[in-house]
Point group: C2
Chain length 542, copies 2
């Protein structure tokens, strides 16, 4: 590690353009290796400081909307540049707070800045505006048709709750923040308590970029909170228009309930829990059962298993191939050295959730890995159960959030479908098939519509951990994987979560937003009378 390129964390929040020290109870993040509090402390925001951040965000909504896509792209790019520039200091602090390996954190900063640059490019491409023009038809009978045009506008101030397991990519300047800022929404981040120092360093970069890019003050703030109070107050505030959250099911459901109980309800995009079923088909098991068992454990134990897309459930039909898979997987789990988890609380929850599943009727423990010497120690764990149990016992679907997985031994493919039929909504569903074998191909074809109904992403031949940031990615899925399976929290499609359509009927050219003007000054793709085109509208059509 080279020396940090900027001053370390100071214990501040960011309210508007200012670094502000909270006046509430002092919070600290914890070194998960030692369980010791990390300095500096972060006094939490007072009610007045929460109010100040929301007031600034509300005041920034109109000017943020009025910024051009070019200006917002410049802002996102400036954030990306600063994250890359300050990477070593960011990684150093995040390593202290999360115990995630340095190469992983270094890669995650790159992923985060890359994500910001992708949204910047998307802003310039303009597709996100979903522009549409139905030109007037004055001669239509029996009634003439008005000129009607449509674009998307930002919802307004968004509250973002970062995730413990991605201190960069899903936190202060992560996907939710990037997509909301791209949409033209001000963002108020509730800093994740597990990495307050990282959060401050990243928030400072966002603030610096906002100032340098001429964005309105209030377009970004970050608050430190106490327990759930600050977050609940933010979501309940009438000036907040949407919420982005990545975390536990209990947390996501509580925020969704708060949002639904408002006099004016707002959308909550909460990514909550998923056990990401992996289906290993008979042909694949027969051809390479042991090899798949080893690869599976590689995905299972990656990052101490602390991924939303961790493979927590394996479905397979019983037979010699499955025995080979289980033998190899059990050996690999038994040899696993364990890992330091993100926080002592997460490690306790993980162990308890695994114990609870292991104690269900019919569940057998096949292997357990070693435990590292740390305050937040995580041991890998492999469990197995018969398919009929899963059909009857919803408790077997609990997410452990760590390197525990349950292998479901099905008697036949009929039972495999029965198990799939009772599964809750998932972020991902993975299929390992031998595409040379007609049986696997036929089975995979029957599985496809079931998996489409179950999950937001279907993978063949890989592992669900690892979420590519691109245009086609869907990181979402039916409840309870998320509160809203109609969207994604990763990839450019995420920008539409913070937008709504507005139609303009017979609005004079001079008052139309640029993307809807006849001459199409941004050269955006638009649907004109239903046909996609980048052409201008002929004047005669007005």
């Amino acid at each position: 590690m080279s020396a940090p390129t900027l001053a370390g964390p100071t214990g501040s929040m960011i309210i508007g353009f200012d670094a502000v020290t909270g006046t509430g109870p002092r919070q600290t993040s914890t070194d998960p290796r030692t369980g010791q509090a990390l300095e500096p402390g972060y006094p939490a925001a007072s009610d007045e400081q929460v109010e100040a951040a929301v007031t600034l965000a509300a005041a920034a909504a109109a000017p943020a909307r009025a910024t051009t896509p070019q200006q917002r792209a410049g802002f996102l790019t400036a954030v990306a540049d600063l994250l890359d520039e300050r990477r070593d200091a960011l990684v150093e602090r995040a390593h202290a707070e999360t115990a995630l390996p340095l190469p992983r954190l270094t890669g995650e900063v790159g992923r985060t800045s890359g994500q910001l640059r992708l949204f910047a490019a998307e802003l310039l491409a303009g597709t996100w505006q979903d522009a549409c023009v139905d030109p007037a038809r004055p001669d239509r009978t029996p009634l003439p048709r008005s000129d009607i045009r449509r674009r998307r506008v930002p919802l307004g101030p968004v509250v973002v709750f970062g995730a413990s397991n991605f201190p960069f990519a899903f936190s202060t300047a992560g996907g939710d923040t990037a997509s909301a800022l791209a949409a033209g929404c001000p963002v108020v981040v509730k800093a994740h308590p597990a990495h307050l120092g990282t959060a401050e360093l990243v928030a400072t970069a966002v603030r610096d970029a906002a100032v340098a890019s001429g964005m309105p003050e209030g377009v970004f703030s970050q608050l430190v909170g106490t327990g759930n109070e600050t977050g609940t107050a933010l979501v309940a505030d009438s000036r907040i228009r949407a919420v982005g959250f990545t975390g536990s099911r209990a947390g996501g459901l509580a925020l969704a309930a708060t949002a639904a109980a408002r006099p004016t309800p707002i959308p909550v995009y909460a990514e909550m829990s998923s056990i990401n079923p992996v289906l290993v088909l008979p042909g694949a098991l027969a051809a390479r059962g042991a090899e798949l068992g080893i690869a599976f454990v590689g995905s299972l134990t990656l990052g101490a298993g602390q991924f939303c897309t961790n493979p927590g459930l394996v479905l397979a039909v019983d037979g010699p191939g499955l025995d080979a898979f289980l033998d190899a997987a059990a050996t690999a789990v038994g040899a696993d050295a364990g890992a330091v988890m993100l926080t002592p609380g997460i490690a306790r929850h993980y162990a308890g959730a695994g114990d609870a599943v292991a104690a269900r009727p019919g569940v057998q423990e096949l292997a357990r890995g070693a435990s590292p010497d740390a305050a937040a120690a995580g041991r890998a764990r492999l469990l197995v159960v018969d398919g009929e149990r899963v059909v009857d016992d919803p408790a077997l679907q609990a997410e452990a959030f760590g390197a525990t997985s349950l292998v479901v031994r099905c008697t036949d493919t009929e039972q495999l479908f029965a198990v799939l039929g009772v599964l809750e909504g998932q972020l991902t569903a993975t299929v390992h098939a031998d595409v040379e074998q007609a049986g696997d191909v036929e089975l995979a074809a029957r599985l496809m519509p079931v998996l489409e109904d179950l999950a937001g992403r279907i993978l063949f031949g890989g592992w669900p951990t690892g979420v590519e940031v691109g245009h086609a990615m869907v990181h979402g899925g039916p409840f309870p994987a998320t509160t809203d399976g109609r969207s994604t929290s990763v990839g450019t499609l995420a920008v539409e979560r913070f937008l709504r359509p507005v139609a303009y009927q017979d609005v004079p050219e001079a008052l139309l937003p640029a993307v809807l003007r006849n001459d199409n000054p941004e050269g955006a793709w638009r649907r004109v009378d239903g046909e996609l085109t980048r052409a201008a509208i002929e004047e005669g059509l007005r």
Copy 2:
């Protein structure tokens, strides 16, 4: 009217492909002129019959999804053809049940069949699939990129609640049904109690078309219910995946609460209440205040004022122009003959809501129209109040659902903005400006961002009644205009309410849906590495 071209209503529901008589309490629609029950009676669905319809819908979900867009387009076109063919019988029954004028109902059948044809065309255009391909990059460093593709899939069975005021365009085969069927979702309609006979005739046409088009049984059913019980049971059923509703705020909120309380919550698209502010700017008032006053009353009294987009609120700055507007409007309202409303219940609610607003402090009644001799009589009513009252009194924003409007006299443009600042979300906001006058143009430019935040559609120089069915239309808006301001219930964009995105990672070509295959057999627009194209993917990119 020519003679009906098919047998009249029989008192049946449609469950799957069968006409079924309910076994519950007998329901009747009422002639709003006389208050007398109309024959035939409709025994409501028993619990078992509700169960049968939902079971069929759930069983139809997979085969409905598996239909090609071409097949679904054929189905929608067949419904449209039958509605046009049976138009006279439909209009005759609807006229008896709603008292809406024959020409209006005849036009509404055409609008409804046209809407179905538009969705059929949209299915063939393919844009709705939002297809996206990020081809693999095996040589990318440090990690290769997987092949990731995305399309939209249907949510599954949808429950649709028709509207009283559009027995065709927003009911059994209206926009919600058309967009859900286009998406590939089975639909269970709860027939509107005010027009049970019309609902049966339309449902029979949908059933006939489903049979003729080879759609799976269960893709469409229609139930008759008792009170709110049947609807609540449908929304609470775990197999239902989304809800479309047009009606009262109380009804929409109740359904949204039921949906949110499910173990697995689902989206509710409820269009509820809107008073559709009309802003008449000083230049327009000065140039043609009286003319605008008369045109306003034309929009206000159209269809007895029973439109979601009825102009229930007029905002203007005080002055001679506003006096001229009010004089002309008061004269027109005073001369109005009144109209038969849809049901005696709606007429009672309308009169009561108008009385409640008229009784608020500071409200003055300027004019009242005549009352027709009918069980469901509606009288036009014009009220006026000072702007400062509206800022302080939320009760002035109550929707009357009829030909009552409140004119808000503002002292200056500052007060106009203050009033706009307290308004609830709206379907529409209308501006009348004199575009030759710099003052009006400057004021309109300041209004635009405020109106974008307030409403789903902004109109210049027209009236909000009349909702064009096209690609660019937005018939939606922030809460409480709808429960979900991110969507529209009219126009082709409505199809996306019943779809969710699914990503396919490294899925073998043979298992991909047609729209995502390399050769793009449907010739659909797709984003390939972010660029819109209809080209095939080069094989080398797999």
